[in-house]
């Protein structure tokens, strides 16, 4: 049983995923920047989040929104300077907000000087920093991630007249982690930012670091060895900092990323997320409970990171074909909404802008075992623009007000890095921070409230979970427990009111206190505990023996 003293900060974190580019433009050039982000820290503090995860802000040709880095030691000029970053970080820390940044370790931009040197000749000292081959037939078992845009994981380089390996876009050559110099340099990059004061890293695309013939080139033991070495150095030199893995894998393949508590502190639970959407659409808890039943135990010091949406497509990779077809047919009827093996839509449109479902999904996000991550704009129910290519439709400017450029930027509209969402339902005149702040029961204020309620206890971040299996399959119920603190969570996944009988005999004698309104519910006795829930309603009850 975990204890309260053991709960490290990242387990109690409420992560807010933001992109400097999209958040707030302080200088009127049409692109968000660090000074702008700094100015909006009060907003984030009021929202109640305590950790910011920043998407890549490094120099980059921006062919993949910054995940194609051309310099790991600096800040993209559009977003400000390194000094601006330091100032922002200091401001965040002053508000008790931690900052984790992206570590795109698997690949660089093809514009990175390392790659430019590597491709310049076969004798160049950096030649071996990337994965080169005279043929494009190696590693045939490796899947192609971006199936909509790439035909092969090999790309021909006309300069060095050979093929280079890339698991994502062809302009993102993979680094060669078999080369000790590469490993050392990437640690140097991490050290650089740690010394500046960042609190952790989200390591992008970690399963792909090492390639071996005859394998899928994912999750290889050699990759795990490299990651463990990074962790060892991190713990030694920067104790208290955190590593978060992006590994879109099945639970059984994710588990090794925690190792014995000596690899990653956290990892995204990719397979759970689409099943939460599936559960609500099917009105059936089965997809959710089944994937959590298949999720192995992780070391006490480790944590899952849960999310509803992020900057990428809603990935359907960790689904069976039947499940994927169902998700596509129900959540992305319009084929334009689909990208690779996923759905490029934001949370509110995915849920038909149904406030009850949005609340239910956040209720589960905040109460299932893990640290929740909220994608910027989802707290106000921002929409998307599927007419923008790739994943840009979910990366539009933050909608601060109903005024000029939605309050995002003073620039001419044409100068914005991307157009604001303007449709009548989700457009900035209808959906924005200012108007929601003024409305007591707005989504924004509700999200702030649920965050506040979650923060009243460490149970959600650090407690154990035990599922109840009421015969009504539309009800997802579980008990979270940390030492002597117990919380009962009951979610109605259905569009209709439901009655449910819960077997709470082991909690006999406890009274239930509903955590939002703090109202008292009847004492638990020997009989099944009968609850009725409205459509998509959920309860969080604190169990008290008084």
């Amino acid at each position: 049983m975990p204890s309260k003293q053991d709960v490290p900060w990242y387990k109690l974190a409420i992560i807010y995923q933001a992109h400097v580019r999209t958040f707030y433009d302080s200088n009127g050039d049409g692109v968000g920047d660090f000074q702008g982000l700094d100015q909006k820290l009060d907003y984030l503090q009021e929202l109640g989040i305590n950790t910011i995860w920043l998407m890549p802000f490094f120099p980059s040709p921006l062919r993949d929104d910054g995940y194609d880095i051309s310099d790991y030691y600096s800040v993209h000029s559009s977003y400000g300077t390194l000094e601006d970053f330091r100032t922002f970080l200091k401001s965040a820390h002053a508000r008790q907000i931690r900052v984790i940044i992206e570590m795109v370790a698997n690949h660089t931009s093809d514009q990175h000087p390392w790659f430019q040197q590597s491709r310049s000749s076969r004798e160049n000292p950096l030649r071996d920093w990337y994965v080169w081959s005279d043929s494009d037939t190696g590693y045939p078992e490796a899947r192609i991630n971006f199936v909509d845009s790439e035909l092969s994981n090999w790309a021909w380089d006309p300069i060095s007249k050979s093929y280079y390996w890339h698991r994502f876009f062809s302009h993102q050559p993979d680094l060669n982690y078999d080369n000790p110099a590469v490993r050392e340099e990437m640690w140097n990059v991490m050290k650089f930012w740690l010394e500046i004061g960042v609190d952790g890293f989200r390591l992008d695309a970690v399963p792909y670091l090492v390639e071996r013939e005859g394998t899928s080139c994912e999750n290889l033991p050699e990759t795990h060895a490299i990651l463990k070495e990074l962790r060892r150095r991190l713990d030694e030199q920067f104790p208290g900092k955190m590593l978060l893995a992006e590994a879109n894998q099945w639970p059984v393949d994710l588990r090794p990323y925690f190792a014995d508590g000596n690899e990653f502190h956290m990892a995204f639970h990719f397979p759970l997320m689409p099943r939460m959407f599936m559960g609500v659409k099917l009105e059936d808890r089965k997809p959710i409970t089944e994937i959590l039943q298949q999720t192995p135990e992780i070391p006490l010091s480790c944590q899952w990171c849960l999310f509803l949406r992020n900057h990428d497509e809603l990935t359907l990779e960790m689904l069976t074909n039947v499940e994927r077809d169902y998700m596509n047919d129900t959540y992305a009827k319009d084929k334009e909404m689909r990208l690779n093996l996923g759905i490029r839509r934001r949370l509110a449109p995915l849920l038909d802008n149904d406030r009850r479902r949005i609340e239910l999904m956040h209720g589960m996000l905040m109460s299932l075992p893990g640290t929740p991550s909220i994608y910027y704009g989802d707290e106000i129910g921002m929409g998307d623009n599927i007419k923008l290519g790739d994943r840009n439709g979910v990366r539009t400017p933050m909608q601060w007000s109903g005024g000029w450029n939605g309050g995002f930027s003073a620039a001419e509209a044409e100068k914005l890095y991307a157009p604001l969402v303007q449709d009548p339902v989700y457009g900035y005149p209808a959906v924005n921070v200012v108007s929601q702040k003024r409305t007591e029961h707005s989504l924004l204020n509700w999200i702030a409230r649920i965050i506040a309620v979650r923060k009243t206890t460490n149970v959600f971040g650090g407690g154990s979970i035990e599922f109840l299996y009421p015969a009504n399959h539309r009800i997802l119920a579980y008990v979270r427990q940390l030492e002597n603190e117990t919380i009962l969570v009951v979610n109605n996944l259905s569009n209709a009111a439901q009655a449910v009988e819960l077997d709470l005999r082991r909690y006999k004698g406890n009274i239930l206190i509903e955590m939002f309104g703090k109202n008292i519910f009847p004492r638990v006795g020997d009989l099944p505990y009968l609850l009725t829930l409205g459509p998509y309603q959920f309860y969080w009850f604190r169990l008290r023996r008084i």
């Binding site: 599936m278 099917l282 009105e283 059936d284 808890r285 089965k286 997809p287 409970t289 089944e290 039943q293 298949q294 069976t320 039947v322 499940e323 169902y326 299996y469 009421p470 015969a471 009504n472 399959h473 539309r474 259905s494 209709a496 439901q498 009655a499 009988e501």
Partner: protein, 425 residues
């Protein structure tokens, strides 16, 4: 939607109601009436489950078992088809929870009670399409689920009745009475008006549940037939779907009277309330049929014709006083003549058979004697007709037999004015 009566006469026990609450709204419901069917039910339920998962993987579906007090573990076998998260890694895989629940009513073979229970469950669960599968349908395949349910679920039919490939001498009661008489009276060429495997829409089920005289014993016994007639009377959309080969079930001669009560009794009792419907109809129309009949080679069928003849002759002799109340003098005289004849074989002609049946129907309407006795008295005469049908077709091809059945149907249609005439006496 009509309300289910949940007062003192409710067929829903509290436990069953609790189970229904847990199942919740469904799109597809499959009802299985049972009574000590443990020997056959396991594979049947597995096939139903497979059919649902194959053809309706995304729909909310449930199996509802209405059991007449089995003592052989039948309900448990049906419950094992459920798929839910308390059995992790259970096979087969299902996208969503699949319920398979049971309820027992008072120990009884009454299919009417079972159907009523299934219909009540279908209404409470707001099932869009509901199939009923007989616990004896061991020839069921997964395709049956789509064959029966798809026309209702996606094509807005209200009743789907089966057609089968049968041995040409299987179902003589059906081919010589039920089919031709139903067709002649109601004007629709429904080949299996008395079906044990069928499907109905939520709206037909609700209407039938509310209107049917469940307390009437005869109506209970033939509730499946009543459902067909209710669908005709209510001008619901009916179609028939081909389910494949129908294996001949061995029947003891003692089974005939109960079978006739259930089918002929239901047909006869339907005539009174539906008089305005059938009295004006002439001729008959085909109904939409889905699925193509497939070739099948039936097992040889053994029928003891000698015994049929004996039972006919004995019946005619012993029941003379009963027949005097039911039949016209000319019909009775003709029957007595052929019963006494030394001819081998004798001939119970189509014309005489149709006249006999119509006179029985009128007598049933007029309740000249106990209605149950009327049905019982028809049994030996049916055996005589069966004897003739077998004898006449013994060397005929399947097509010849079919032509003879068609001729008989036309005879029923042609003679319908006679029924109207004697009906009003």
């Amino acid at each position: 939607m009509a309300e289910v009566k949940l007062a003192e006469e409710s067929v829903l026990t509290d436990d069953f109601l609790r189970q229904l609450i847990d199942v919740g709204e469904v799109d597809i419901l499959v009802g299985v009436p049972t009574h000590n069917n443990a020997k056959t039910i396991g594979p049947i339920v597995e096939t139903i489950q497979a059919g649902i998962l194959k053809f309706f993987p995304r729909e909310r579906a449930a199996i509802i078992n209405a059991d007449g007090g089995s003592r052989d573990g039948t309900p448990k076998l049906i419950a094992s088809a459920a798929i839910h998260d308390t059995r992790p890694n259970s096979k087969p895989y299902a996208l969503r929870t699949f319920h398979s629940i049971s309820t027992q009513y008072a120990s009884s073979l009454a299919l009417g009670t079972a159907l009523r229970t299934i219909m009540a469950a279908a209404e409470l669960l707001r099932a869009k399409a509901c199939a009923v599968i007989s616990p004896e349908s061991t020839q069921i395949t997964a395709d049956w689920l789509t064959t029966l349910l798809r026309p209702i679920y996606t094509e807005e039919f209200d009743l789907v009745l089966p057609t089968y490939s049968r041995h040409r001498f299987d179902g003589i009661l059906l081919t010589n009475l039920l089919y031709p008489m139903t067709r002649a009276l109601y004007g629709l060429k429904i080949r299996e008006p008395y079906a044990l495997d069928f499907a109905f829409s939520g709206r037909l089920g609700s209407q039938f549940l509310a209107q049917n005289a469940w307390h009437d014993e005869t109506a209970q016994a033939g509730s499946e037939t009543q459902l067909t007639l209710a669908a005709i009377a209510g001008e619901y959309r009916i179609c028939q779907s081909f389910l494949g080969a129908k294996e001949h079930a061995e029947r003891h001669s003692a089974d005939l009277v109960p079978a006739m009560r259930q089918t002929v009794g239901a047909l006869f009792s339907s005539l009174e309330p539906n008089f305005s419907l059938w009295n004006a109809r002439t001729g008959s129309q085909p109904i939409p049929t889905t699925g193509a009949a497939r070739e099948f080679i039936p097992e040889p069928l053994r029928v003891n014709r000698k015994r049929l003849r004996e039972m006919f002759s004995t019946g005619v002799a012993e029941l003379e006083s009963v027949f005097q109340s039911i039949l016209s003098p000319s019909t009775l005289a003709e029957l007595q003549r052929i019963a006494r004849t030394e001819d081998v074989p004798f001939r119970y002609s189509a014309e005489l058979w149709v006249k006999t049946v119509y006179e029985f129907a009128a007598a049933y309407h007029q309740s000249v004697i106990s209605r149950d006795h009327i049905i019982q008295a028809l049994a030996p005469l049916f055996r005589g007709r069966a004897f003739t049908f077998l004898t006449e077709n013994i060397n005929g091809s399947d097509a010849d037999v079919e032509n003879n059945i068609e001729s008989l149907c036309l005879e029923f249609e042609r003679t319908k004015p006679y029924l109207l005439e004697i009906w009003k006496r």
